[in-house]
Subunit: 359 residues, 2 copies
Amino acid sequence: MISFARGAPSLDIVDVEGLKQAAADAFTSDPAGTTAYGTAIGYVPLRRWIAEQHGVDEARVIVTNGSMQADAFLFDALVEPGDAVVVEKPTYDRTLLGLQHRGAEIHMVDLEPDGISVDGLRALLESGVRPKLAHIIPNFQNPAGYTLSREKRVALLDLAREHGFTIFEDDPYIEIRFSGHALPTMLSLDGPEDEHVVYASSFSKTVCPGIRVGYLVGPEDLIARITKAATNTYISPNMVAQSVVYQFCATGRITGAVETVSRALAERVEALTTALGEHLPEARFQAPEGGYFMWVELPEGTDVHVLFDAATERGVTFVKGTDFLLEGGENTLRLAYSGVTTDQIDEGVRRLAEAYRSL
Amino acid sequence: MISFARGAPSLDIVDVEGLKQAAADAFTSDPAGTTAYGTAIGYVPLRRWIAEQHGVDEARVIVTNGSMQADAFLFDALVEPGDAVVVEKPTYDRTLLGLQHRGAEIHMVDLEPDGISVDGLRALLESGVRPKLAHIIPNFQNPAGYTLSREKRVALLDLAREHGFTIFEDDPYIEIRFSGHALPTMLSLDGPEDEHVVYASSFSKTVCPGIRVGYLVGPEDLIARITKAATNTYISPNMVAQSVVYQFCATGRITGAVETVSRALAERVEALTTALGEHLPEARFQAPEGGYFMWVELPEGTDVHVLFDAATERGVTFVKGTDFLLEGGENTLRLAYSGVTTDQIDEGVRRLAEAYRSL
């Protein structure tokens, strides 16, 4: 089975030796901090490192057991049943699930190749909807692979100020850019006095997913509330893992790891787009500039559920576009190229095309 | 400041070198399983190892980010607002907090030197209270240091069967026994067909607290429900930490670690009881056979809040007994001897006695 389904790196692009060394460094250089209970804010040196990266005060940062846990804390803190929340259309399926679980009133706003439709969001706001939160994945969006333009980042912040909602900038892929130019985060554009952005990221894509270290940057009072909830949930997050991540970052290994991953993913996107052009020219897509995912549209009328079964029979799998939407998307799919090697990609697309021809 | 407050081991009894080796082994022997996303059940080899230790099917085990997180999942699964829950009097303050937070109707039943008062619990049940759950810390209870006798373990199970409640056997200290004889868990006494016990334990006391690995053993359908909630909370717990714990256990290092900790704690209890006899003969206590904590009663009329301040001024601290109760306990305190070395203990008790004399 060739899997374009899972958003996870293949083992060959994980710096296992570097991690082993970082673990040894963690136990050697800070045995007490690494092995003892910490507090819910996370491992202090890593929290400080993150704060420095973002140029914010440490009190605005909490380091958690993965960024999904951070999302859960944030939703628990901000989203009451019946609250309006804006998400991108399509968006990450677990975000949809987390919001549905909390009884949010979900408003999906079209995602365009340069990010969420600002006109669509403005129209929604003008219709009287008062969202508590707008969830935005700005870079190499999951599932679409699209990136929010600079102009739209500024426009979104203007809308957030005008209408008093919080932008949840969910940014785990930011470091994995392999073409084009980096754009400023909305967190940095918001300025120190304004507090319209809560930013989340993670080390899953730069260190490894099994390490489960993520974080939030937000207004100090919100972070304090979330820290209290985290204390009551688990006393402290994983200090061993956070100390290992700190060593991996502080010694600069993370720079090499990001280069390795970015180089490999650039090759995989190239292989994927070439193979699609060759074997499945009906597929429409925009090649991503980074991240793990590419969104593919097939001709109207294609039934992705039938395609999925036909593909599985032929030894290739993906995630149906419908999983990232509340309705529609029957002719769409998400291809993750993070976990497949280039030689698998050509064969996988060949099988996918064969499945499509069989419909 | 000499601290009898925190239930955590001093660094000298943590096997830091063993942990460093276990981390190297984890990345070397299973790089894929250690660095990739896992699933919410936990790291598969560790889950299997735990299941074997308890002689249960793997499907009955979930390995979590520390046992507090396991408690939170269990309470979320079983406790609705208004549900009656039995706890020991006194009990672990975070358990009280977690239950209060969920709106449980808490019934505290007296804790005796051989465990919870079975007569007291029976009287409560006969008064018509129908608890969903009884939370019991059977070995070297926190805060009292008492251990539930074998007879009472059997009697509690009989009551659970008769009245249809679940015993939450919260057992993080079981391995840290330094005198007397090990008693069977209620989980093992319950038998394979009966499902009246959910068992929780952790590696915080045997490996180290910063590793944040705990687990639940329970009925298969309940574990499946909790696994689903865990997936939605954090996808997977920390695979790096769980793989390190697995290596630490599978290579037998854990046996040596438990011996080191138990030997040290036996010496500390000896030092503590000797010092109390010498400097503070008014103190009444029962020396624990294991664990981290000893409960101390001072003469009626002692105000522990005043004592706490007087002690802090003199450079010694502890946790007030009132923190472990909903009411009463003004003449009681919990002394944790896990984090203090023997030479600190004599001086700490000397200061405590001086504070007591100053009242």
